[in-house]
């Protein structure tokens, strides 16, 4: 069976389009809300969904996603419950789903069991923000056996040797962290992003998606001109936080994502012209 991530990037590439990757924290404010949000974000133009797995001590995340993790944990969300909820979502959509989970939640679950059950539930890829390639051997083997794409991160501080090695090891796509910092920080240097994405491309054919600090329609359109995918996290999660009690939560967040998608499409037309 082909992986939904791979086929999505192939389709987009064939149409000279870029992927809009939308991050939501699973279980924020509840798992049923997450299902409704994912379906609405797909309608709004998201090509891939990144589902955050809440963790009590998220060292790579800024305050917006920290608070979302706290809300999700308060609603009783766990990795186990997320995997139980995914099949129902999978019955309604074929959008690629990527989990972003801190390593301890996976370690506590059991690496092999997690990879197997995640794929059975309908998950396509995995990002572990606190697991550099040095520590990834076991999880990489388990993911590969299960058919789960293990996505590695590259950062502005990565040396050329690390960049080449990680670019070759990452499956599905490469997550390029746009800035030296945590999620929700401000995008600083677009030129540096462009240079580094080009260097990654020299090492691999695997698609490169850029995340961290991408918050506005303008950011999205500028980064879409550089990379194969644009990841928006904190900006969407902030909308969810603000509208968490609104009965029209999915529509509110959907409207925001629609505006991002429209800027992205518009931006690409400009670039092609």
């Amino acid at each position: 069976m082909t992986n939904r991530l791979d086929s999505t990037f192939e389709r987009l590439r064939a149409n000279r389009k870029k992927a809009l990757i939308a991050y939501v924290m699973a279980g924020d404010p509840s798992l049923p809300d997450t299902e409704a949000l994912v379906l609405e974000l797909e309608r709004a133009g998201a090509d891939i969904i990144e589902l955050g797995v809440p963790f009590s001590d998220p060292i790579a995340d800024g305050p917006v996603i920290q608070k979302a993790a706290e809300r999700a944990l308060r609603s009783g969300t766990s990795l186990r419950r997320i995997l139980t909820a995914v099949p129902a979502l999978r019955a309604k959509t074929q959008i690629p789903l990527v989990l972003m989970a801190y390593y301890n939640t996976i370690y506590a679950f059991g690496e092999s069991a997690f990879c197997r059950q995640a794929v059975e539930a309908g998950v396509d890829g995995l990002i572990v923000p606190d697991m550099p390639p040095e520590e990834a051997d076991l999880l990489e083997a388990a993911a590969s056996r299960a058919g789960l794409r293990l996505i590695f991160l590259l950062a502005p501080t990565s040396t050329p040797a690390r960049r080449a090695a990680i670019a070759r090891r990452s499956k599905g796509f490469i997550y390029y962290v746009s800035l030296t910092g945590i999620t929700g920080a401000k995008l600083a240097d677009l030129e540096e992003v462009r240079r580094n994405v080009e260097k990654i491309r020299q090492a691999t054919e695997t698609p490169v998606a850029v995340g961290f600090g991408i918050a506005t329609a303008q950011d999205v359109s500028q980064v879409a001109a550089i990379a194969d995918g644009v990841i928006v996290g904190s900006a969407i999660v902030r909308q969810i936080g603000e509208h968490q009690h609104d009965p029209h939560l999915p529509e509110r967040v959907g409207a925001f994502v629609r505006s991002l998608k429209s800027a992205m499409t518009h931006g690409q037309v400009e670039v092609r012209a």
Binding site: F55, S56, D57, P58, I59, A60, G62, P63, Q66, L73, S78, L79, R80, Y103, N104, T105, I106, Y107, A108, F109, P129, D130, M131, P132, E134, E135, F152, L153, L154, A155, P156, T157, S158, T159, R162, I166, V177, T180, G181, I182, A185
Partner: protein, 399 residues
Amino acid sequence: MPQFPDKHGRFGKYGGRYVPETLMPALLELEQAYLKARRDRRFQAEIDHYLKFYVGRPTPLYFAEKLTRRLGGAKIYLKREDLCHTGAHKINNTIGQGLLTRRMKKQRVIAETGAGQHGVAVATVAALFGLTCEIYMGTEDMQRQALNVFRMRLLGATVTGVNAGSRTLKDAISEAMRDWTTHVRTTHYILGSVLGAHPYPMMIRDFQSVIGREARRQVLAAEGRLPDCLVACVGGGSNSLGLFHPFLKDRTVRMVGVEAGGLGIESGKHAARFAGGRPGVLHGTMTYLLQDDDGQINLTHSVSAGLDYAAVGPEHSFYRDAGRIRYTSATDEEALAAFDLLSREEGIVPALESAHAIAEVVKLAPAMKARQVIVVNLSGRGDKDVQHVARLRGVPLGV
């Protein structure tokens, strides 16, 4: 015992480097810089100079005669780390890392602190070496240790309160790691215990091992033999590993690490990782953690802010599994009783952290023979805790 850690920063299955990619190059750079400095005689001479003339080393190994008589068993020696400049062993590490920061030509240091002792020690070397300094501290701990907050500010440091999670040491470390991720090119993170990603557990153990090297020499001079037992409290585990490490090959020397038993292990309100935890990954390292079935980190409790943390140094986890070090715990109540006991018997007010080690000595010594010898690490002095203990006892201080 093989040379630990291995080149991956592992102590058996424990340790490693579980950090975001952004930090990996900095950890590799730090490891290179440290290994190079460790081989450099001038670096070692610089450390020795500051330890002697600034910190006041060697610290005495003091025979606690009255306490020995009172407990009626083994001879009790106190390794007086409480007499170090700034009042605790923490400065042994910050002198080393401060000098390393200068070598790496970084201008800014950051740190976490729980009880405030490490924060004070970092603020102190930052003043000494002319570095900009920011300390992260949980707001709960800032209340418990208000005096140390003011001391850090006096020393020129910025103290930033952390209002997330349990508002204690765990959250301060997370926030310091976020700061480091953001300012990694210009900033060195002076971690305060044998925790975190490689090379920190190794490097901090090395800097703290001066405690055990001195104690070994001193006890041989005083008693003409090795001690029967070493006792130290274990938060992250730097004072204990500093004392224990130079004795690890001495098979006749027993070692006991004392964790924070809080309100009792059965209450669930404690920080005894070896009693209630299992292996996992937190703050860059694989080690014993207090966590739930889903791998979420538990909130911990201890009367002493310095022991109030959900993880323990990875090297301790290895020695626990290997059976080389025995780990036990003392409750808040036992620690407070030991705090009083040492104050009244010896005229030494111990830090609440160190009082946990004294509490274990109270249990051990009477069952031992009079010719046997215990060395206990008095890792810090209790001045910082006087206010907190008064508050616990409802004594108004009128300030």
